[in-house]
Amino acid sequence: MLEIKDLNVFYGAIHAIKGISLSVDEGELVSLIGANGAGKTTTLHAISGLIPSASGSITLDGADLRKTPANKIISMGLSHVPEGRHVFARMTVEENLRMGAYIIRDQKTITKNLDMVYSHFPRLKERRRQLAGTLSGGEQQMLATGRALMTDPKIILMDEPSMGLSPLLVKEIFAIIEELHKSGITILLVEQNAKMALAVADRAYVLETGKISMSGKAAQLAQDDRVRKAYLGA
């Protein structure tokens, strides 16, 4: 479904992404793990068009995403849950979710998708009139995820959903990710928490200083000595 080939991204003079290739098939949960600064977030930003890529190809079901302006990517069926949630703090929970469906004009579809999101996240429904800025970190993560689901996308990119959350909340968030995956949603997950990311994923890629150093079945990578030493603290 999502195909990336020989992608190169520069930050000024810094060659941040050095010719990576990866793919995500329909229904898959693929994790992209790696240390801080390896280029995980940069990869997602390049996919969403938030930063320009220098060369290579990014396609979604054959459509060229590199030629698509950043604000049209969501219409192609790709949603992005950014690092640090980026919810609209001065809007209510429900307004945030409705903004997620900004590209949809049909009110019936919006209502249907809103119900779908509320069924995944009952807590958001309880707090629907509350300002997003007053939610806890975990709830904001749920809101950002729910907002990305409002277009009923083909695939969602999730960037560090566990960032800054307590261990208990990390578990809760990953349980939600697994549940979304089971309900058939395709996910590309970027995480520093390699242990959890490998536990929920079908496949995974390891990113090291802008290059993919390893890839394969998540369960196998979790057993790999190099991965265990470098990312799992074993």
């Binding site: 969403s48 938030l50 302006p69 950043a70 604000n71 049209k72 990517i73 969501i74 219409s75 949603s79 992005h80 950014p82 640090g84 949630r85 980026h86 919810v87 609209f88 703090a89 001065r90 809007m91 307004e95 409705r98 903004m99 997620g100 900004y102 590209i103 300002l131 800025g133 007053t134 939610l135 806890s136 970190g137 904001q140 907002r147 960032m163 800054g164």
Partner: protein, 298 residues
Amino acid sequence: MSTFIQTVIVGLRLGSVYALIALGYTMVYGIIRLINFAHGDFIMVGGYTIIFTVPLVLALGLPAWAAVLAAIAVCALVGMGTEIIAYRPVRKKGTNMSALITAIAMSLFLENLAQAIPAIGPNPKVANQIFAAGGFKIGSVTFEYTTVITIVISAVIMIVLYMFTQKTRLGRAMRCVSEDKSAATLMGINVNHTIILTFAIGSALAAVAALMYMAQYPRIYTTLGSDLGIKAFVSAVLGGIGIIPGAVLGGFVVGLFESFTTSYISSSLADAVVFLILIVVLLLKPAGIMGKNVGEKV
């Protein structure tokens, strides 16, 4: 008592003009974090457009105030042009400081350009009567038509604008862009278009403010914008810059203080009192009367 009520009414009239202008400052600041120093000069552009189109409008058999439609169109174009030609390129390459200096440059450019146009020149021009002269009395208090119209129209515009930002798709997009541009982009919002729309609306409000101002003080000169603009800017900061209801509140606070100082103390102290209020409020509430930081928890 009648002096008191009269003073309140004058304060509301001044305040509604300041509020209309302050809205332009605050909307642009809210969306690109730039103090648009040229905003005051948009009022001047609107004012001269009205002066030049009133004869035309009258010849067509329309009332003089219809000239504001031309002013709205011209101001919106100038506002959008300023953003596209001057601010956007600087924002892409430069720092906040270079953007600010560009805004000051745009202000001087518009003022000098106006002076350089032979039909305008350096001498003040006098406008036609805009609204019907006279007024009516309730008890011993006089209500001039101009004053009533100014207050009512401004109030209606402010309510419509507020509803627009709260209830419409474009208005919500505007709020999103002002909060978080990259998240807005991810929602499918075209950030550049939204910024241009903000400039268009803010500048159109400046055109309406120009009409209201000239209805009361029918004299216009090329630096009018700086004089009016600074008080409106104070209003926006006083209310909490970037916050739409704050600009309205700030405008009325400034207008009322100015009016009361003029009536009860001295007209030459009016501006000093306005700035004194600003300093006191900012000492007590640095983010302005309605300003508060809704922090994003991580």
